[in-house]
Amino acid sequence: MNIQFANEGDWIVVGLEGRMDAVTAPEFEKRMLEQIRQGSAKFILDFSRLEYISSAGLRSVLVTGRSSKAKGGDIACCGLQGVVKQVFEISGFQKLMPIFDCLNDALNK
């Protein structure tokens, strides 16, 4: 999985590419927690190029969301499509965190 961080105003956009499963999720979690430790707390996770997310991946998203909130930050998701979107729908994640269609919608919030 490829993870890229980009600053957009107050927000840090996390570009996710590839597959987020039990193997790659720990790396995502580690890098996100690293960012949070460095003081960043407001994240937009861009899922537009993510092919697949497993329940382990969802858990990592939850963990980072909870950590950022503990630091007074926030987390939002955007660009869900395909299998990833289905997984989010099935698990009811839209009830747990804000979901936007695209990055611009998220930034304009």
Partner: protein, 644 residues
């Protein structure tokens, strides 16, 4: 593993050293032997030649002293008019005073000394009883016709006669110097008056010659101008044989050739080769100018080279000794190098056989062998530590594995494995964890005789953490369901139990349902789980609506909606976890809900067990070659309705 001796380094080194040294020694010895021989041969040539020349010169000296005696008398005869008595006295004194002179005579021409007497030849010689006198002029000895008188008279000059046995004279082998003398005061031409002779006994002349020692067995000999032996170690040859007669007799061509050279050259050195007794000889010779005789010195080659051969033999012995010593040193040296190596090799075999505690031979050497030994020792220490670590790790791993095995069987025991044999419904389920233990689960239990509670769930992640949460979830669900709570209430209760203290954000997706066995009414609630499918009795496949609520265990005070559907007899509810839809093949493609639906097509009427097996076979065929990424669980319930 023992090195065979002929492969060992020590043997190889020793053999190489021995070969090399032998070659060098052999070359040096051969060269020194040959060059020594040459030097000695040159020296022998010189010394033999010198000996021959000096001996010849001695003889020449003796002969010339004899000739001088005769010459002096001739001068007196030519100057003074001597009477018979004075002449006899002079002759007698010549013999008496000169030991070289055996005998001396003055022989006159006919009727020239005493008037009326035809021949007069007084002769004094050393007889057995002192000096004797005879007058050679007798009827039996007509001296005018003898060589010693006739030849010098004809030639008019002094002559040495060939050696001869003087019978009637001295009765010894002698040679005679004959000098003609002339009438004194001759006015016109010189007229021969007579001959003065001086005899030399060959025996006296050569008495010391045969005693001259040349080395051990070498000797001198003398031959006349005709090759007749005048002096020789073997006396029976003297005057009886000549070089040439002997050569003829013994058929020795090299002897004849040597004889010819002796009589034609002044001096020389001849390597005669094998001679009478098959021994090779050297010959040095020198000729006596006055008489034409030749003096030879014989020296056996063997004797000449005996010393050098002895020296050579000593050298060879020394060389062999040195070689043996060198070999001993080489063996010692090589084994001092290889014995630690052998010990290390032995130790290596023991270590290889597992005896890591085997003590290596102590090595203090700073050489390569010492380094090897130390490196080897370090290696065994490291190896020992590594094996200890590995043993500990393996033990820990085995312990964990056995614990996991126990955990897996405990986990399995928490899932119902006895499926009721009923006519009104048919249920079957399989949970196949990706690892030893998993996070998937299914449950079913009879709340009462008419109601069957069903649940299927998936804990986020897999392995031990998932399994721990799974056991908690299963227990909570069972106890809540056993109390007869409605599905949504079961989920809410589970959620409320899990949320507090869930720092690791583990969550569970759960689908649970209550089936009225009399009516087929199915009440259900979905906590973020994959929507189950229904294969209708007519083959139609439908998803349970709506999409699920949120996952369980994350947010406090969540409410789950309750839905209801009625199963007709023959309808089959198939619930599953994402291990089915998200099973991957080697191309990283997901099995997907679509494939599951097409797999279920035509499955109407079959048993729950068959449909479960069909789904699992299809998934496993799809994922052949790819490792199982997630736990796979399928729970199928077929409603048959009341059978009357």
């Amino acid at each position: 593993m023992k090195t065979r001796w002929f492969y060992s380094l020590a043997t190889k080194t020793t053999v190489l050293v021995a070969l090399g040294t032998s070659l060098v020694l052999a070359a040096v010895l051969t060269y020194s032997y040959i060059s020594s021989r040459d030097i000695i041969e040159d020296q022998a040539e010189q010394s033999l030649l010198n000996l021959a020349k000096s001996e010849a010169a001695k003889l020449e000296l003796k002969l010339s002293s004899v000739a001088e005696v005769a010459g002096n008398l001739a001068v007196i005869l030519e100057t003074d008019r001597l009477d018979k008595v004075t002449l006899n006295a002079l002759i007698r004194r010549n013999v008496q005073d000169h030991p070289a002179v055996f005998g001396s005579a003055v022989a006159f021409e006919p009727f020239s000394f005493i008037s009326g007497v035809k021949a007069y030849a007084p002769y004094f010689f050393e007889g057995p009883d002192g000096i004797s006198f005879i007058d050679l002029a007798s009827n039996s000895y007509d001296y005018f016709r003898h060589d010693w008188y006739f030849i010098p008279r004809e030639l008019g000059k002094p002559v040495w006669s060939s050696p001869y046995f003087d019978e009637g004279g001295g009765n010894v082998v002698m040679t005679t110097f004959s000098q003609p003398f002339f009438h004194p005061h001759a006015e016109t031409e010189k007229r021969i008056w007579g001959i003065v002779t001086a005899d030399v006994s060959v025996e006296w002349l050569t008495e010391k010659l045969s005693t001259i020692k040349v080395g051990q067995t070498g000797h001198c000999f003398l031959i006349s101008e005709n090759g007749v032996f005048l002096a020789h170690r073997e006396e029976n040859l003297i005057m009886r044989e000549s070089v040439f007669s002997l050569a003829e007799e013994l058929n020795l061509t090299n002897m004849r050739a040597a004889g010819k050279r002796m009589l034609s050259e002044d001096s020389g050195f001849i390597d005669i080769g094998e001679f009478i007794d098959k021994k090779p000889l050297f010959l040095g010779f020198a000729r006596l100018r006055s008489t034409g005789w030749s003096l030879g010195v014989i020296y056996p080659k063997d004797e000449l080279f005996e010393e050098i051969s002895n020296l050579h033999r000593t050298n060879v012995t020394l060389a062999v000794g040195a070689l043996l010593a060198l070999l001993a040193v080489s063996v010692l040296l090589a084994s001092s190098v290889t014995s630690p190596l052998r010990k290390i090799a032995e130790a290596a075999s023991r270590v290889a056989a597992g005896d890591l505690d085997h003590n290596l031979p102590a090595t203090h050497g700073r050489d390569e062998v010492g380094e090897l030994a130390r490196a080897f020792k370090n290696m065994t220490v490291d190896l020992k530590k590594y094996i200890q670590d590995l043993t500990a790790t393996t033990a820990a791993k085995e312990r964990i594995e056995s614990e996991l095995g126990v955990a897996a069987s405990i986990q399995k025991s928490m899932l119902p494995s006895k499926f009721p044999d009923r006519e009104d419904f048919d249920i079957y389920a399989v949970m196949d964890p990706a690892r030893e233990v998993g996070g998937d689960f299914y449950q079913f239990l009879f709340v009462d005789t008419d109601r069957l509670f069903l649940a299927i769930g998936d804990v986020s992640g897999k392995g031990v953490p998932a399994a721990l949460l799974m056991t908690v979830a299963t227990s909570l669900i069972r106890s809540a369901a056993a109390e007869g709570q409605a599905p949504h209430s079961v989920l809410e209760q589970l959620n409320n139990h899990l949320v507090p203290g869930n720092d690791s954000c583990m969550f569970v997706t759960v689908f649970c349902a209550m089936l009225e066995l009399k009516t087929g009414a199915l009440t259900y609630a979905n906590g973020g789980h994959e929507r189950p499918l229904i294969v209708r009795a007519d083959g139609h496949i439908a998803s349970l609506s709506p999409p699920g609520g949120p996952v369980v265990g994350i947010m406090d005070e969540m409410e789950f909606s309750e839905e209801q559907i009625v199963l007709e007899p023959g309808d089959c509810l198939i619930s599953f976890t994402d291990g089915v839809t998200e099973a991957m093949n080697t191309n990283d493609e997901l099995y997907s809900r679509e494939r599951l639906i097409s797999c279920l097509e035509g499955s109407q009427g079959v048993t729950a067990r068959s449909v479960t097996a069909k789904v699992l076979d299809s998934v496993s065929a799809f994922a052949t070659g790819a490792p199982q990424a997630d736990d796979i669980t399928v729970l199928a319930v077929k409603f048959n309705g009341q059978q009357h």
